[in-house]
């Protein structure tokens, strides 16, 4: 089984680190993993994205054409990746920075107002962690605890004090999905 995740947004939205946290978590869970950024410091002002592959077997390609999961943190990312999500896959989008609606069927798509929710915690930069929490809740590829442990073990020392806030964001993302489900269930 191979799961592939693309997280895409503006530079500075924390997409690369969110991808790393997922990678660490999967690695700790005994999976084969790869993480690769769309590196491009030579291209200023662009979008930043990364691809995570999680597998039971040795991984061939760190890049994927049709990811199973996409987290789109802004509108350009949604435009770029919506059509590429694998059939039956997941698209999780940051409603706060997206004005248009979904256009694709056959996949599971979610809008989450991540910036607003993150602002509630008090830090807009938490939106990527928040979406990660939501993604985990939606897909079940890892547990929230696994993500949190990975985060705790790999957050650079100088950022340690933001750990509680990160945890909050993960939970908040997950809760938002739970509520959504509850609402739907209604």
């Amino acid at each position: 089984m191979e799961t592939s995740i693309i997280i895409s947004g503006f530079g500075g939205q924390g997409t690369l680190f969110a991808g790393q946290v997922i990678t660490y978590a999967a690695m700790a869970a005994g999976k084969e993993v790869t993480w690769i950024p769309s590196y491009g410091p030579e291209m200023r002002g662009g979008t930043a994205n990364c691809t995570v592959v999680i597998s039971d077997n040795r991984i061939g390609s760190p890049l994927v054409l049709n990811p199973t999961i996409v987290i789109a943190m802004n509108q350009p990312s949604l435009e770029k990746y919506e059509s590429l999500v694998a059939e039956g896959g997941y698209l999780i989008a940051n409603k706060s920075l997206i004005e248009k609606d979904f256009s694709r069927s056959g996949i599971n798509s979610y809008f989450i107002p991540a910036n607003e929710l993150a602002a509630e915690i008090g830090n807009m930069k938490m939106s990527s962690m928040l979406l990660t929490g939501a993604m985990v809740e939606i897909t079940g590829i890892l547990s929230l605890d696994q993500i949190k442990t990975a985060l705790e073990n790999n957050l650079p020392a100088r950022h340690k004090k933001t750990l509680p806030m990160n945890f909050q964001a993960i939970d908040k993302g997950a809760e938002y999905i739970k509520e959504l489900a509850a609402e739907k269930a209604k």
Binding site: P41, E42, M43, R44, G45
Partner: protein, 259 residues
């Protein structure tokens, strides 16, 4: 005589010399200001349709997308050589290079020195932002002592990496250079002076008087890891003391010129 019209006066509008596209520069990066000044000067001098620009490798690698003239793209540091090739076979054109500090002062040191040495009749716009912007913030020859970069993580150690290299001062020692000045882009008043300098540099070339260069102290908020405004302050507070503004060589005929 006052005019009859009551239409609003357009005090400032984007110059024709700039193309109508969004640039890839980071928000607040003063590369954009220097582009604008070049465009304004070429517009004002009526040179746009005679000019061939030479873009460097650096953040301004896509200068040709923004400046509305013929353009070529040089290998890293070799813009002065490429400009020489063009100017020698097309002396009727106006040829200028646009180069960063890594491009001009590090890998391109030999080419800029010799273009100046030959008194090559070209103009150089030299953007000194004390860092390698495009590759993500490594130390440049112009990085300030003690300044942290991704390749001087403990701050530039002058014992191991030397002191900042002052290109205008060095190039002014070359007999072939006619106009060598340093200006700054950190403040509207200084920007206006920068524009005048760019104008004089092109005037030098138009008069066939040889090598002209305008060094512009510029910002890199992204890699300096500060806001655009803090970046302007850093230029004023930290860069100007190391790279003093001034005229390092001005041909008397150009000195006389009113622009």
């Amino acid at each position: 005589m006052a005019t009859l019209t009551t239409d609003p006066i357009q005090v400032y509008k984007r110059p024709v010399g700039l193309t109508e596209v969004h640039s890839h520069y980071c928000p607040g990066c003063t590369h954009g200001i220097s582009h604008r000044l070049i465009a304004e000067v070429l517009d004002e001098m009526g040179l746009r349709e005679k000019t061939i620009g030479v873009a460097p490798v650096g953040c301004s690698v896509f200068a040709y997308k923004y400046l509305n003239t013929d353009y070529v793209e040089a290998a890293h540091g070799r813009a002065p050589a490429m400009a020489t090739g063009i100017k020698r076979v097309r002396p009727e054109n106006i040829v200028y290079t646009y180069q960063g500090d890594g491009d001009l002062a590090s890998i391109g040191m030999a080419e800029i020195m010799h273009a100046a040495g030959r008194g090559e009749n070209i103009t150089v716009i030299f953007i000194n932002n004390a860092i390698y912007g495009m590759t993500g913030g490594q130390m440049a020859p112009t990085t300030l002592p003690g300044m942290k970069t991704t390749s001087s993580p403990k701050g530039r150690d002058v014992e191991m990496a030397g002191f900042p290299i002052k290109m205008s001062e060095i190039l002014a020692t070359m007999q072939g250079s006619s106009y060598i000045v340093r200006r700054s882009l950190h403040d509207p008043a200084y920007i206006r002076k920068s524009k005048k300098a760019i104008r004089k540099a092109f005037e030098t070339q138009v008069r066939g008087m040889g090598f002209s260069l305008v060094e512009l102290l510029s910002t890199c908020p992204t890699n300096w890891k500060v806001t655009p405004y803090e970046a302007l302050q850093f230029v004023e507070d930290s860069m100007i003391p190391v790279f003093p503004l001034g005229d390092f060589k001005v041909h008397p005929e150009i000195a006389k010129l009113k622009v």
